[in-house]
């Protein structure tokens, strides 16, 4: 009995040694940050960090759907592996962005994150993802400082497929000046996005020769805007730009019509409230209001097919302006993974984290729905084309930007 056992033990020992010594080109990870190994039957994991609940849920739902369509276009597969898409609700604020980042970055197999929607959520989240070596591509953070040439080194894993607000704010200012407005006021809600966007607008407007009569601010959850609007009215502006979010934006739009001196001021917002949900919140007061937003008519030819797929899959029109940017962000990531992944004969994938980030930054002339994407060394990849849209119908069900020249909201510039 004892003999049999010893023999068996010897046999096991020898066979393990034989296996270990078998001649085989084993993958050696030389990546600076490390590699992710995906076994033959394991999926490729991509996560989202978006706002999918609350007043701004339209923003996150819209981008999430963009990614889902991009995955569907590949039949859910990449390099023979299933793509697993999951994620966290980041609530469009700093705390939510940070919590989501901590939770997602604990996943050792996670390759890339698509998000966040809101720049405020991005700021604390970026260093967490970068520390974990996870690539991050945002479809809708537009605040200028996230891709500033002087951005901190700990932002090295962050890119975005949407425009920088340096472009959006300036275009709105040029529009206002061109249309003969001489006096403008602005309002932000303390978020990084709104604050920087109104600042860019104000600087460009002053440069063109206009006068900024007031730069006000409110809280994102404030409801009584009339005192603030009364203050703005006292400075007699002709144009009022408040690039904020849906809840407070809806209140300002409604109450501006009720404050003496503001009835005839031209109201304008930005892409954060470019949504049928905003019409729900603002009601009839939204009629005549302006938005700066990506120019849908300048999108590539595939956009109309995308819209058809969207309508077929979700039974409605896109809810916010960033679905196409999200679609492009997902495809950029897929292309970069295809470029850097090393495949073993048994189907195991090895992906270097730094290599993936480098491949994303090397994106050049990438044909996306939103144009030709080329990433600069600071993570700006978009091909920004900004248009000004006007609300010609306050009914949220009529929302269909970019369908044809007369649809609601209507593109009026350029």
């Amino acid at each position: 009995m004892k003999k049999t056992f010893a023999l068996l033990a010897l046999l096991v020992l020898v066979s393990t040694m034989a296996l270990a010594c078998a001649p085989k080109a084993k993958f050696q990870c030389t990546d600076k940050i490390g590699c992710v190994d995906i076994g033959p039957n394991e999926p490729i994991r991509i996560a989202y960090s978006m706002v999918v609940s609350g007043g701004d849920a339209s923003l996150g739902t819209d981008t999430k759907r963009g990614v889902e369509i991009a995955i569907e276009d590949r039949k859910g597969e990449l390099l023979g592996h299933k793509i697993e898409f999951f994620g966290e609700d980041d609530l469009c604020n700093a705390e939510g962005g940070q919590t989501a980042a901590q939770k997602l970055s604990a996943d050792p197999k996670l390759l890339a994150v698509i998000g966040t929607n809101c720049s405020s959520a991005a700021r604390p989240a970026i260093p967490i993802y970068c520390k974990a070596g996870i690539a991050m591509v945002s479809p809708s953070n537009t605040a200028p400082d996230l891709t500033d040439p002087n951005r901190p080194a700990e932002y090295f894993c962050y890119l975005r497929s949407c425009h920088n607000d340096k472009v959006q704010g300036a275009r709105m200012a040029e529009f206002a000046w061109e249309k003969g407005f001489k006096r403008a006021a602005t309002c932000h809600d303390g978020s990084i996005y709104a604050d920087q966007l109104q600042q860019v607008f104000a600087e460009r407007f002053k440069e063109l020769g206009g006068e900024i009569t007031a730069q006000e601010a409110v809280g994102p959850d404030d409801t009584d805007m009339k005192p603030m609007l009364t203050r703005v009215a006292a400075t007699k502006p002709e144009f009022f730009y408040y690039p904020i979010f849906i809840k407070a934006g809806g209140q300002i739009t409604k109450q501006a019509k009720e404050v003496p001196g503001m009835e005839n001021v031209q109201l304008a917002g930005a892409d954060g409230i470019f949504s049928p949900d905003f019409l729900r919140a603002a009601g009839d007061a939204a009629l005549g209001m302006l938005w700066s937003s990506p120019d849908f008519s300048a999108f590539a030819g595939g956009y109309q097919e995308f819209l058809a797929k969207h309508e077929a899959k979700y039974g409605e029109k896109p809810l916010a302006p960033f679905h196409a940017h999200a679609y492009d962000a997902a495809n950029m990531i897929f292309a970069a993974i295809e470029k850097v992944a090393v495949k073993d004969p048994d189907g195991t994938l090895h992906i270097g984290r730094q290599a993936l980030i480098d491949a994303l930054f090397a994106t050049k002339d990438f044909k996306g729905l939103t144009g030709n994407l080329t990433c600069n060394p600071y993570g700006d990849c978009a091909d920004p084309k900004i248009a000004v849209y006007q609300c010609v119908n306050a009914d949220p069900d009529s929302w269909n930007p970019g369908a044809d020249p007369d649809s609601n909201p209507k593109k009026i510039w350029p």
Partner: protein, 355 residues
């Protein structure tokens, strides 16, 4: 004499007084500079005050719910903000239905009455259920227990509404007859009709409640229970009934406040109760928690402070975009009031009685 005074005033008290006086000095200097600059016409201050009164009367109605429950049960009913939210939420569906039928524009008074009744009924039901299910079994438990239960109930209600009706913001229908202004005689400014209606409705309810508590037999039984539950029971007062009545009144006022709030801001959302709830709780503390008139005064004071003071005080101090800081300013004022009157504006009588 001097020795006793010195013993009563500790170092902390002096320190707090210095902080309080510093803030008061800031308020005075800021206001003086703004007024001296003459940048804003006097009419504008009047308009800002009216905005504040409209907002404040809504706070006052919610604050009554906090203060009455505290007076009778010695607990902060943190779920009250959800009682406030539930009313206009159901009211929204009634109002939309009436609006689509055209009834709201043809018969605005009756229509609004129906919406108000629906909202008050909903809020009252929820308040009574809360008392029965969440608070009554815990009445003899340590004080912290019902407090935690209240917070739990608040989350439960919020997310139940979110689950049932979605998380988006819904726009309340607008009543045609309530568009526009009533002009204030002698000025070029008007009072928004919605604000006028809100102020009048709130005043009627506040006066009604005051008379009810002071003059009727039931009201007196509430007072008795709030003074001492056990002795009130010995005197033949049904304590359970008195407590339920308190929740009914608090719920009905919160539901009404919700509709008034929705009239002013025309938006409902599952999370809408949170901030007004916190503000109303502040108002209740400001006025002296447990005191009915105090809650009314506290609400009005807070509303006016939020609307008027950023422009009046912070503008003079040269702070840009002052309305961003209106909550901070409101809470600083709360600190000042509590430094000089730790029991709130009208809290003293109550404190003496309870001591």
């Amino acid at each position: 004499m001097l020795y006793r005074l010195r013993r009563k005033i500790s170092g902390t008290t002096v320190f707090m007084w210095i902080i309080g006086l510093g803030i008061l000095a800031m308020v005075v200097v800021g206001s003086a500079q703004t007024l001296a600059s003459g940048r804003y016409p006097s009419d504008q201050w009047l308009v800002l005050t009216i905005y504040g009164v409209a907002q404040g009367s809504v706070y006052a109605l919610i604050a009554l719910g906090y203060t009455m429950v505290y007076g009778i049960l010695r607990m902060i009913n943190f779920a009250h903000s959800e009682v406030f939210m539930s009313g206009p939420f159901i009211g929204y569906y009634v109002a939309t239905a009436l609006d689509e039928a055209g009834f709201l524009d043809r018969q605005p008074v009756i229509g609004l009455g129906i919406v108000l009744l629906a909202a008050m009924a909903t809020s009252t039901t929820i308040a009574v259920l809360l008392e029965r299910i969440a608070y009554r079994p815990l009445r003899r438990a340590p004080r912290l227990v019902p407090l935690i239960t209240a917070i739990g109930a608040s989350f439960f209600l919020q997310y139940t509404f979110r689950g049932l009706f979605g998380s988006g913001v819904k726009g309340y229908p607008e009543i045609d007859q309530l568009k526009g202004y009533w002009l204030i005689p002698g000025t070029q400014f008007g009072v928004l009709k919605t604000q006028g209606v809100v102020i009048v409705a709130a005043v009627i309810m506040l006066v009604g409640l005051y008379l009810f508590v002071q003059r009727t037999k039931t009201g007196k039984s509430l007072q008795a229970v709030s003074e001492d539950k056990d002795i009130a029971a010995l005197m033949g007062i049904d304590v359970d009934r008195a407590i339920v009545i308190t929740f009914i009144i608090g719920g009905a006022l919160a539901g009404a406040a919700g509709v008034l709030y929705a009239l002013l801001f025309r938006q409902v959302n599952f999370f809408m109760g949170f901030f007004p709830g916190i503000k109303a709780f502040t108002a209740a503390v400001l006025g002296g928690i447990g005191n009915v008139v105090g809650a009314m005064l506290g609400g009005l004071f807070l509303g006016i402070a939020e609307s008027l003071f950023p422009n009046l005080v912070l503008d003079g101090l040269g702070i840009p975009a002052p309305y961003q800081l209106k909550d901070a300013l409101a809470f600083i004022l709360l600190v000042v009031v509590l430094i000089f009157r730790p029991t709130g504006i009208l809290g003293e009588r109550l404190a003496a009685k309870k001591a």
